[in-house]
Structure formats: structure tokens, C-alpha cells
């Protein structure tokens, strides 16, 4: 294929898109909407994965001691905790400190101790951090075996629930995208079929004067690619606009929420969206070329 023929193909593709404006815009909008949904679902999945990993890395085990243990015995226990394999850090939190921490969560007008009837119900406790998140359940079990330990709490279940949510989001996202993506492909195919129909006279003459099949096909193929690509660009632009807003607001207001703000990962998502959009366009035009452009 000559360079000038590619130039002709681009010119013809744009010309026919201009002629079929409404159909073409509908196809672009559908591609954009489906990719926007895909992008949202994708970012949600990435965020909940990110959140799960952040929470996993912060996993700590709280070991509450029996109330009859003396302070001295309690402090001596530290070595027992440190002897457990995989433990990174062991902190003793006395019942007084525990109460202070609790008090800090309420405003100054409320006196927790008074509300509790002057009795501190909190036990002494140890906070154990694991070196690796995967070790947390095993360490928790060993901590439980220490006789002085009344009970053990760690974030069991939370991470699992988050990962389950991630999987669910992923499935729903894929299904929704498949359905709308199919609609997008169909619209692209229809829009190109209309173009083929509008240009059937030209196609007839082209064949007679000796245009190759691919010379005839290229403008239609390009039309599909352009529709898909433009739709994807629109989706990426709006997704970027909304997401950067969201990140901005989350950081300002609820900054403990670990939102994903790693540009290289987000750009990676954008690149894929552009690729998928162009691919949808290619599929749409391939369908209509096969079915309606028997050259």
C-alpha cells in the first residue's frame, strides 16, 4: 500500500464520518460510556486491592492479658512474645494507657472513667506486629497458647472480605463491559454499514477502474478504528478528570483512606482503555466489512 493511498483512505474515512455524523457520534458515545464503566470498575478493583494490601501490612495482633496478672509479671512477658518466630515488634500497653487512648477518641467534655462508674474495665495488653502479613494467623495462634493471655484479636476476616469485594467488583465490571462493549461493536458495525451503503456507487466504480480490495476496505476500517479510538480518548479524559477530583477530595477530607494515587499504574489503565477502544472499533468494522462489503 502506497503512502498516498493511506492518505486517501484517511480523507475518505473522515469524509464519510462527517456525512454520517449522528450515527458516528452515537457509536463514539457508546464506546466512551462502556470504557468509562470499565475504567471505573478497574480503578475500584485496583483501589480495593491496594486497600487490602495496606491493611494487611498494618495487621497487628492484640493480646489481652488476664486481669489477675500483676504488672510485674505482665512486663516480664515481653520476652515470651518476642521469642515467637516472625514477630517484628512487641509493645506493652497498660490498662491506664488503654483508657487514655480511648478517652482521646471522644471529645473533652465526656469523661470516660466517670461514664464507666469510676472503674477501668480495660485489661493490660500487648500489641504484636508481624514481619509478614501471611504469618499473622500463625503468630496469633502461638500468642493464644501463652497461659497469661486471656484472648487474642486481630483483623481476621476484614482482609478476606475486602478481597471478596474485589473479586465481585471484577466480575460485575467484566460482565457490564461485555454487554455494553457488544452494543458498541454493534453500533460501529451499523454505522459502517450505512457508510458502505451510501458509498456503494463509488465502490462499484472503484472496482471497475481496478481498485484493490484493500484499497476499498481501508477507509471503512479506519472509520471503525477512529470511532473506537476517539471514544476511548473521551472515556480516558473524563475518567482522569473524575478520578483526580476524587483523589484530591479524599486526601483533603478522609486522608486515612488509602486511595491509589500511583500515576504509573493509573496511566497503565488509561493505555489499556485506549487499546481496548481501538480494538472494539476494529472488531466492529471487521464485522461490517465481512458482512456488507463483499468486494
Amino acid at each position: 500500500m502506497r503512502l498516498s493511498s493511506l492518505e486517501y483512505a484517511f480523507r475518505d474515512a473522515f469524509r464519510s464520518m462527517k456525512r454520517n455524523k449522528v450515527m458516528c457520534l452515537a457509536a463514539i458515545a457508546t464506546v466512551a460510556v462502556s470504557l468509562l464503566i470499565l475504567g471505573c470498575a478497574w480503578l475500584l478493583v485496583l483501589n480495593s486491592e491496594h486497600m487490602a494490601s495496606v491493611m494487611e501490612s498494618e495487621l497487628e495482633i492484640n493480646a489481652y492479658l488476664r486481669s489477675e496478672i500483676t504488672r510485674e509479671d505482665a512486663l516480664n512477658l515481653k520476652r515470651k512474645f518476642e521469642a515467637i518466630g516472625g514477630v517484628a515488634q512487641v509493645t506493652f500497653i497498660s490498662k491506664e494507657e488503654g483508657l487514655k487512648n480511648l478517652q482521646e477518641r471522644f471529645d473533652e467534655d465526656t469523661n470516660i472513667l466517670e461514664a464507666l462508674g469510676g472503674n477501668n474495665p480495660l485489661p493490660d495488653m500487648y500489641r504484636v506486629k508481624a514481619k509478614i502479613a501471611d504469618d499473622v494467623p500463625r503468630i496469633a495462634m502461638e500468642v493464644e497458647k501463652i497461659p497469661e493471655v486471656e484472648n487474642v484479636r486481630y483483623g481476621q476476616g476484614v482482609v478476606e472480605k475486602l478481597l471478596a469485594l474485589t473479586n465481585w467488583l471484577r466480575t460485575v465490571g467484566v460482565v457490564v463491559v461485555l454487554v455494553i462493549g457488544l452494543a458498541a461493536v454493534f453500533l460501529i458495525a451499523t454505522s459502517i454499514r450505512l457508510t458502505v451503503f451510501a458509498r456503494r456507487r463509488e465502490i462499484g466504480i472503484m472496482k471497475l477502474v481496478g481498485a484493490t480490495d484493500w484499497y476499498i476496505r481501508w477507509p471503512f476500517f479506519l472509520e471503525g478504528l477512529i470511532v473506537g479510538f476517539v471514544g476511548a480518548v473521551l472515556a480516558v479524559l473524563s475518567l482522569h478528570f473524575f478520578y483526580s477530583r476524587l483523589v484530591h477530595n479524599v486526601i483533603l477530607t478522609v486522608n486515612f483512606l488509602p486511595i491509589l494515587n500511583d500515576l504509573s499504574i493509573i496511566v497503565h489503565v488509561y493505555k489499556w482503555l485506549l487499546f481496548i477502544g481501538t480494538f472494539l472499533g476494529a472488531v466492529g468494522s471487521a464485522i461490517s466489512l465481512r458482512r456488507f462489503l463483499k468486494v
Binding site: 500500500m1 472496482k207 471497475l208
Partner: protein, 226 residues
């Protein structure tokens, strides 16, 4: 240049029609040939076979030493680039100017841009349309429209021109004009084949005349009349 050996063409359908029955003929390079005969005699079928729009049911067609039957599908476009077509109904694009109509064909044959720009005005001048370059076909007379079609057919310097009823929609004076242009093209060495009903032009030009009737060649004269 064109050799047709025992060619038959049958259209199968609700009614089976035998459009050509065992035709053999030779056309030499640089010849000017009229195909004459009543409607349904097989003139159009013969032209359709020559442009490889259809294949014969039986027989062999050789053009320039190559068999049209053995032409592969992807070779057809390149074969057609060696032929210029002229039709009764012109087959012009009404939403394009005279210039664009000719340029469109050159683009389809994948000529580069600069060659298109250079050749289109030259060929339009050859058919006397240099003043109408930016006019639209509907603003022109039938004869002028047919000249666009001729310009489009010869812009590629084809080996042969095949014209199917080129003057069918034109009045006698205009027909004569068009025939004259075809004759001029023939004088430059291009083989010209004209299927026509135009009795007057055939008689005036005194060229080779092949008469068809009911799918058979009934007459083949070197300097014949209608």
C-alpha cells in the same frame, strides 16, 4: 491481443439463458472494433467477460497472452487497470466535480498525489473539458458527461478501451463527437471496442464490425457498416 476461443456463457436461473454460443474471435492490438446487434444478442455479455466481471461457462479468453480464466482474484484489479471503461449511463459521481471524478479513479488505481494533480488537467484538456474542471456533472450536457467518462477511462493510458453503448443516451451530433474522440484515442495506438446501436456512426467510421445475433457471430467485416 484479445483471443476468444469457443466461448459460451449460460445464465442459469428460473429461465436458463444462453447468452453466448461458441464464439471465437481475435482482436489485434490497435484495432477499432464495433460490436453490433439487437438487444439480447450478447454484446453486453461479451464486454462483461472481457473486463473479467464474469467467467465464461465454456471456452477460453486470452488477453495479452494471459488467460482470464486463470487470473487470480487478487490479480483482477491490476488487470482492470489496463482497461478503460465507458458506459451508457456514464457512472459518474454526482457530488464530485469533473476534476474529482477523474482524480477519484486515479486514486483508486493508487497513483501518487502529484501525478494525479499533473495528469487530470491534461487528460481533461484532451477531451475538451478544460473549462469545466470545477463544474459538477449535472451542470453539463450528456455529451460533456460522457467526455468526463472518457477522460476517466484514458487517464491511465490503458491498453484497450471497452465502451458499452457509449452514445446510447446522446443525440446524433453529440454521438458523433464522442465517436470522434474514441477514434482519436485509437489513433494513438489504444485498442478500442465499442458495443453500440448507433447505426449512423458505425456506417460513417467504416471500421471492423462484428455483428452478433442470438449469442452467435453472424458477420465479421474488416471495413463494415451496421
Amino acid at each position: 491481443m484479445i483471443q476468444i476461443f469457443n466461448v459460451s456463457k449460460t445464465y442459469k436461473g428460473e429461465v436458463t439463458v444462453q447468452a453466448l454460443k461458441n464464439i471465437s474471435l481475435h482482436i489485434k492490438r490497435g484495432e477499432f472494433v464495433f460490436l453490433v446487434g439487437p438487444s439480447g444478442a450478447g454484446k453486453s455479455t461479451l464486454t462483461r467477460l472481457l473486463i473479467r466481471e464474469e467467467l465464461p461457462t465454456e471456452g477460453q479468453i486470452m488477453v495479452n497472452g494471459k488467460s482470464l480464466l486463470r487470473l487470480r482474484k487478487r490479480e483482477i484489479p491490476y488487470y482492470r487497470r489496463k482497461i478503460g471503461f465507458i458506459f451508457q449511463d456514464f457512472r459518474l459521481l454526482m457530488d464530485r466535480t469533473v476534476y474529482e471524478n477523474v482524480a477519484f479513479a486515479m486514486e483508486a488505481m493508487e497513483f501518487p498525489r502529484n501525478e494525479v494533480k499533473e495528469k487530470v488537467p491534461a487528460v481533461l484538456e484532451m477531451v475538451g473539458l478544460q473549462d469545466k474542471i470545477n463544474a459538477y456533472p449535472h451542470q453539463l450536457s450528456g455529451g460533456q458527461q460522457q467526455r468526463i467518462c472518457i477522460a476517466r477511462a484514458i487517464v491511465n493510458n490503458p491498453l484497450m478501451i471497452i465502451a458499452d453503448e457509449p452514445t446510447g443516451n446522446l443525440d446524433p451530433d453529440t454521438s458523433w463527437e464522442v465517436m470522434n474522440i474514441l477514434q482519436a484515442i485509437n489513433k494513438r495506438g489504444t485498442t478500442v471496442i465499442v458495443a453500440t446501436h448507433d447505426r449512423e456512426s458505425v456506417n460513417r467510421l467504416q471500421k471492423r464490425v462484428i455483428a452478433l445475433a442470438n449469442g452467435r457471430i453472424v458477420r465479421d467485416e474488416e471495413r463494415g457498416g451496421y
